[in-house]
Chain length 307, copies 4
C-alpha cells in the first residue's frame, strides 16, 4: 500500500472500528488490526483488559465505542452477554450509527445470532455472525478462519478488515450459518482430538514410539489436524500446548461450551450426536477433576493416568 | 532398473512369491505383483477365488504354495485362520524353506503376531507382520500403506516387493508393532468418521449445504481424511462409497472387527477407549440393523434416519 | 369421610378444580378426580380432547377454566406451553383468583418452574410444581407418584386432591425441586432400562431363557423396576408394553425429552452425565430410525436387530 | 438336623470338601462351611492366605486338596488360573477322584467354563460353573446367590453345601450358563450404579437432600438395588462402602473385569452393549486415575469432583 492511499485509507479507518471484548482472543485480534493500520476504539467490562492493548482508544461503554464506528465487533463469552452488550444501558444500540455493520465474532447459539440479526434489521443497522476458528495461536498470528453468516454484500464489505485478523473468510449462508459452521467444525475437532488421544495413549502403552506412530498416522487414514498440527502427546511436536504442560491453547471449558452449544443446536433438529455427547461429558468430567485450566488435548494425560 | 538387472531380477522372482488368501484385498494385491513382473503362486480355501486371479500359478495347499518361495504372504480374515494356515495339515510350515520370509498382511491381534514370530524363530524361518491401510481402493491402485513389525533387515529385504503393492512402507518396531500401528490408525479412523457423520448430519439438518460445510471444515481444525478424502455425505465427493449408495469400500463388519481388536489390545495395557468403545458398539448396532453390507461411512445415513 | 362432611366437602369442590391439558395423561387424571367426587372444569387447545372427558365442564379458554377455581392444574407438553397458558391472551392469569393454587404437573425445566413461582408470587396467587411418575398406566389406575416443590402448607392443602389421582405425594423442597426429583428419577429409569435391555438381549443370544434370567436378576444385585415391573422382553411379563408390541406405555420421544431436560439441568451445575448423555442420543437415534411411536423399552428390539 | 444325623452327616463331610483359592471371597465362604459343620481342605498359592483361615486342613497343592474330596471348589481370579489349577503340575486333575464334583465359583468366560466341562467329561469327573453374586458382604454373611450351570442332578447334589455359603441357588441351564447369568446381572449392576451416581450427583448439586431424593427414587420407577440397598452417596445408608470412604465392597478392578468378560461374551453373539461398553471404559478411566482400591460406587465421588 502506497503512502498516499494509506493516508486516505487511514482516514477511512480513523476511529471507525469498534471492538468490544478484548480478552485472550479479542486483544490479539485488535493488535493485528492496529499493526495493519486500523484505528480501533475498544471497550471491555474489565478495565485492565482494555488498558493492556496498545495503540487503541479506550472507551467507557459499548455505546461510546460504537458511536461513529462503521464496524462494531463483539468478542464475548456467550450469547447472553452479547445481547446485554447490545441492548443494555449504555449498550451498543444506544450508540450505533444507522446502517453500521455489527459483527459478532463470539461463539453463541445459532438461534441467538438469528435473534440479533432480527434486532439489527428492526433498528436500522446490519448484522453478521462471524465466529472464528484457530484459537489464541491463530489470533496472535493473524491466521484465524472467519465463518460468516448474513448478507453477501455485508460480508464482502467487512472482508478486508477480517483479513487483517485472519487468512480465511468463509461466507456460509444466511444469518446464524457462521455459528452453525463453527459448531460443526468444533464438534469434529473435539471428537477427533479425543480419538487421537485414545489411540496414541494405547499405542504408547503397547510400546510404540509416539513420534513414529504419529508419522504413520499422518500419512494414513487416521490423519487429522489433531494428529498433524496439534498433537496431544508431550514432545511429539514443538510449540503446541501438549509440549508445554498443556498450558495456553484451547481451554477445556471452552471446548465443553462449544459441545454444549452443538448439542443444543442438534437437539433443535433431532440430529443424534452419540460421540459428541460422550465427548462433552468427558470434558465435563475433566472439569470436575481439576483440568479446567488446561488445553483440550489434556485428555491424553487424563487417559494415561496420573501415575 | 536397467534391462539386464530386470532380467536377473525377474529370474529371482520366478516362482518365489507365495500368496495365500486372495479375497477382496489379496486378489488385487496379487494383480499388482503380477503386472509389475513378479511370478506368484496362490492358494485360497475357496477355489473360485484362486482361479479368478490371472497370470498366477494356482496351488492345492498352503504347503504347495510355500514350497520354494522366498516370500510367503498371507492375507486372511483373522489370527486363528492365519495360525491354522501356518500349522494345519498341508500348512505353510510343511512347505516353507529354511530362512524364507513369512509376511502376514492380515489384521490380527498384536499378541497373535508375536506368537507367530516365536513359532517362526523356533522353526528356522523369519516372520514379519505387515498389515495394510488403504482398503480395496488402495489395493486396486497399488497405493497401500504397509505397517511392518519385525527385524529391520527383513523389512528392507521385502520392501521392494511391498512397494509393488503399495506406496508407503513403515517400519514400526519389533514383531507385532505393525499390527499395533494399524489398530491405532483404524481406531482414530472409526472415531473421526463417526464424528464427521454426526457433524455433517447436524449441519445439513440445520440448513447448511454439505459441500460448502465440507470445504470450510477441510481448511479448519476439524479436517481429517474422513472429511477431505472419503466424505460420508452422498454427492459431496465423486468416487467414494457415500456417492454410490455406500457400496464397496470399507465394510461395517471390518471396521467393527478392527475396533474389537483395538479394545482387546487396549485392555491388555489398561488404556481406556471411551469413544473407541462406543464407536464399536455403534457399528455393532448397525450390524444388528441391517447395514452389514455397507461402507463404514453409512453411519451418516443411520444418523440421518431412514425417512 | 362421613356422609355430611362429604356433603360439605363436595360443595367445597363444586366447580373449584380447573384442569388444563387433557391429553393421554391429563384425561386419565381428570377421570379419577371425577370418579372420586371432584367437579372439574377443563380446557384443552384440542377441542376433541376436552370433549372426550366425561362429567366435566368444558371451557373455552384457560382464563374461563381458572375463574373461581381454588386449584388450577396444568398438564402440558413443555415449559413454553405452560408459560403461554399462564400468560397468554385468555390465559390463566386473566382468570385466576387471588390466593388460588396453581399446580403444574407437566415435566419442565426446574428453572422454568422457578420462574413460574416468581410470577405467581408477584401476582398474588400460589404455585407448586408437581410432576408425576407412573405414566399412562399409573394415571389410569390412580397410582401416580407426585413430586412436589414449593411451600409446605400449599403442598398439604392440595394433597387430598393429589391422592385422588395418585398414591404417593413427596414434598421435595422449594419451588422447582419437584421437577428436579422427577428428572433425577427418569434419568436413572432411562439408563437402567437400556442396561436391562442390553443384558437380556445378550443373555438370550447366548442361549438363556429370558424368564429364568429375569428371575435370577430380580433377586440379585441387577434388579430394578425395569426388570421386575416393566420387563422389556416380549412375553416375560403380561400387561406391559413389551408383551404388546411395545404399544402404549412411555413413548420414546417422552423419555428423550426428559433426558434433554436432565442434561440441561445437569449442565447448569456442571454435573457430568456420561451414561445419561449416551442414553439420550440412543433414544434420538431410535427416533431417527422410526421407533417414535413405541414404548421406551423398545430398545430391546433395536439392539436385538430387525431380523 | 438331629444329633445323630449330624454325626453321620459330619462323617460324610469329613475331609471331603476341597476349596482352592481363599482370598477375600473364598476365605469367608470357607468360614461359613466350617461354622456349619463341614470339614474343608484348602489350598492357596499365597501360603498366608491359607493359614489365616481357622479350622481347616491346609494342603500344599491343589492335587493334595482334591485327593479324596467329593466336592472340589475353586474361587480364583480368572479362567486362565482356574485352568492352570486344574491342569498344572500338582493340579486338581492329578488328585481328583473318579466321579467327584468340581465346582468353579470364579467369574470367568462362559466359553472357558464350557471348556472345563469338556475336560471334566473326558477325564471321568463332573463339573459345574457356580459363580456368585453378593460380594464380600454376602460371602461374610453367608447370603450369596449361586448361579449354577451344568447337569441338574449335579446341581441338586451340591445344593446343600452351597446353601451353607449362600441363600439362593439358581440352576440356569447347561454348562456355562451360570457364568452367563452372572455376567448379565453384573452388566446391569454396573450400568445402574453409574446411572444412580449420575442422578444423585446432579440432584445434590441442584440442591436436593440425597436422603430425600433417594427415598423418592426408591418408591419410583428409578429404584434398584444400587439405590435402595447399596446407595452410593456417603451418609445416605449406614454399613455400605459409600459411608465408609468407599472402602471394602466390590472393587473397581473387579467390576471392570466383569464388564470386560461381558463385552467378550456379547461380542461372540453380536449383541451390542452401548452403555456396557462406556461403563467399562469409565471404570478403566477410574483405574487410570487412582481409584483402584475403592468400591465401585466411588463413581459418585469421581463425577462429583475432587474439590
Amino acid at each position: 500500500m502506497s503512502e498516499d492511499t494509506c493516508a486516505s485509507d487511514c482516514n477511512r479507518n480513523a476511529s471507525n472500528v469498534a471492538f468490544i471484548g478484548v480478552g485472550q482472543m479479542g486483544a490479539r485480534m485488535v493488535k493485528n488490526l492496529i499493526s495493519k493500520g486500523e484505528k480501533v476504539k475498544v471497550f471491555d467490562s474489565v478495565p485492565q483488559a482494555a488498558s493492556s492493548v496498545q495503540g487503541v482508544t479506550i472507551c467507557n461503554s459499548p455505546e461510546e465505542a460504537a458511536k461513529d464506528a462503521a464496524f462494531v465487533f463483539t468478542m464475548l463469552p456467550n450469547g447472553h452477554i452479547v445481547k446485554d452488550t447490545l441492548l443494555g444501558e449504555k449498550g451498543i444500540m444506544k450508540g450505533i450509527k444507522k446502517n453500521a455493520l455489527f459483527i459478532d465474532s463470539s461463539t453463541i447459539e445459532p438461534q441467538q445470532s438469528q435473534e440479533l440479526g432480527k434486532i439489527a434489521k428492526e433498528n436500522g443497522f446490519r448484522f453478521l455472525d462471524a465466529p472464528v476458528s484457530g484459537g489464541v495461536t491463530g489470533a496472535e498470528a493473524g491466521t484465524l478462519t472467519f465463518m460468516v453468516g448474513g448478507e453477501d454484500g455485508d460480508a464482502e464489505e467487512v472482508k478486508p478488515i477480517l483479513l487483517k485478523m485472519g487468512k480465511n473468510v468463509f461466507k456460509c449462508g444466511g444469518t446464524g450459518t457462521g455459528q452453525i459452521a463453527k459448531l460443526c467444525n468444533n464438534l469434529i475437532l473435539a471428537i477427533t482430538m479425543i480419538g487421537t488421544c485414545e489411540s496414541l495413549n494405547m499405542g504408547v502403552k503397547l510400546g510404540m514410539d509416539p513420534k513414529l506412530l504419529t508419522n504413520i498416522i499422518n500419512v494414513s487414514t487416521g490423519r487429522s489436524w489433531s494428529s498433524d498440527t496439534y498433537n496431544p502427546v508431550p514432545g511429539v511436536m514443538p510449540n503446541v500446548p501438549s509440549s508445554n504442560h498443556y498450558k495456553g491453547g484451547f481451554g477445556v471449558p471452552l471446548i465443553a461450551k462449544d459441545l454444549a452449544l452443538a448439542e443444543s443446536a442438534a437437539l433443535s433438529v433431532g440430529a443424534p450426536l452419540p460421540l459428541g455427547a460422550i465427548s462433552h461429558q468427558l470434558y465435563r468430567t475433566l472439569i470436575a477433576n481439576g483440568f479446567s485450566d488446561k488445553d483440550f488435548a489434556v485428555v491424553y494425560e487424563f487417559l494415561k493416568g496420573q501415575k
